[in-house]
Amino acid sequence: MKDRFALFSLMGREGALSKVHELIREVKVSRVMTSGPLTVSPNATMSEVKELLRQQRISGCPVVEGDTLVGVVSLEDLIHALETQNLDRPVQDFMTHNKLIVAHAQEPVMEALRRFESTGIGRMPVLDGRDRLVGIITRGDITLALLRTLQGVYSEAEALQDRPQHFFEALESERTDLTLRYHVKRGDFARGGEASAKIKQALLRIGASPQLARRVAIATYEAEINLIIHTDEGGFIHADVQPTEILVVAQDPGPGIPDIEMAQQPGYSTATPEVREMGFGAGMGLVNIKRCTDNMSIWSMVGVGTRIQMFFKVSPDEARKTGAQ
């Protein structure tokens, strides 16, 4: 148990308690409730209610007329009807109809929890802003949401603990060197960004700081999109990762850039309208790469190809300060 708390404390501000706190204080009833609940009409017989409760394995349900909530019928009301042998009488004779305790879709779960405690009831119909029935909430719904949140936080913390706390900590050798290679196809927008996402994941897995991983991912993503948009037949991305520096190279066999200086001007682009419609070709790709790297160089020759080299220094700070963001 002690270990678990240690895990949670790793997560700092985003820890388990703050997640649970947030859930209770800030999450709205609408997110936890069961929407579109089963309902009965006030004219249905208690015998029909008995069948509904039995078949659906529920212990009560709202009674509605059109969109309007008129009452709640529970197992207790059914027992009452059974005892007095009135199963053929309508629901409206047995249901609770005045001083109905309800929850509102937009109120915090906390408020609903308080009402459950002060009234001792087991379920509340949930109304929207216009007093229409939109769901039902039980104590169980709240407990379940809490447990799910805790489970999520716990696995997040576990993943964090599995991650090395120092860059390359898990791999020890005299000269460690990790090479990742990806082929990027021309025009393959559907898979565009896959290589960059994989490089980012790999960096995080070997203990890179989120900031370093983000810098590398953004620069690589821009280069990857360039291979998809501007090349004759795509190209390759290859990342050479070392404990103190990372080199990512994007290379293609054509067509080559006629004027490299021009290509690096903010806003300059040769992209087609179709590419622009997809959100690219704003002429900021190389500018963005430059911003994210510690050093970058472009070599290109028309008819031969293009090679972009992107250097990232792994600062001692970035190498040390990993894990918790």
Binding site: R214, Q265, V287
Partner: protein, 121 residues
């Protein structure tokens, strides 16, 4: 600002719910993915009219936890599938980009502030 508050403000629809409760501190509205990548801040909401999977990729690179699509443009299945895989929330606003941004600004969400001039050739 929570995603529920955002949805309430723009009378929007949740398409892919986030794996955890999400709070965004800033927003960036753009259809140009390089611009988004240029201005990234953690916990940023991405407001865009671009519904292809690249919007999700961009959000992932930028560590943006949620995307709000504008103009009621429902994203294709490929975008939804990638968002689920990446754990990025997707929402839909029935308003245009301008109206959506205005409504959210009034509701208290802020952008990235003033930027310096970038001269073009």
């Amino acid at each position: 600002m929570t995603l529920d508050e955002i949805l309430e403000a723009v009378a929007g629809e949740m398409i892919v719910a986030p794996p955890f409760p999400v709070d965004v501190e800033h927003a960036c509205a753009s259809d140009l993915m390089s611009d988004v990548l240029m201005f990234v801040k953690p916990s940023m909401l991405l407001v865009t009219g671009l519904t292809n999977p690249q919007a999700v990729r961009t959000a992932d690179m930028a560590e943006s936890p949620a995307i709000l699509f504008v103009r009621g443009k429902y994203p294709p299945e490929s975008t939804i599938a990638l968002a689920k895989e990446m754990g990025i929330a997707l929402m839909l606003s029935p308003y245009t980009m301008f109206d959506t941004a205005g409504i959210l600004y009034v509701a208290g969400l802020r952008g990235i502030g003033k930027l310096s001039t970038v001269r073009q050739q």
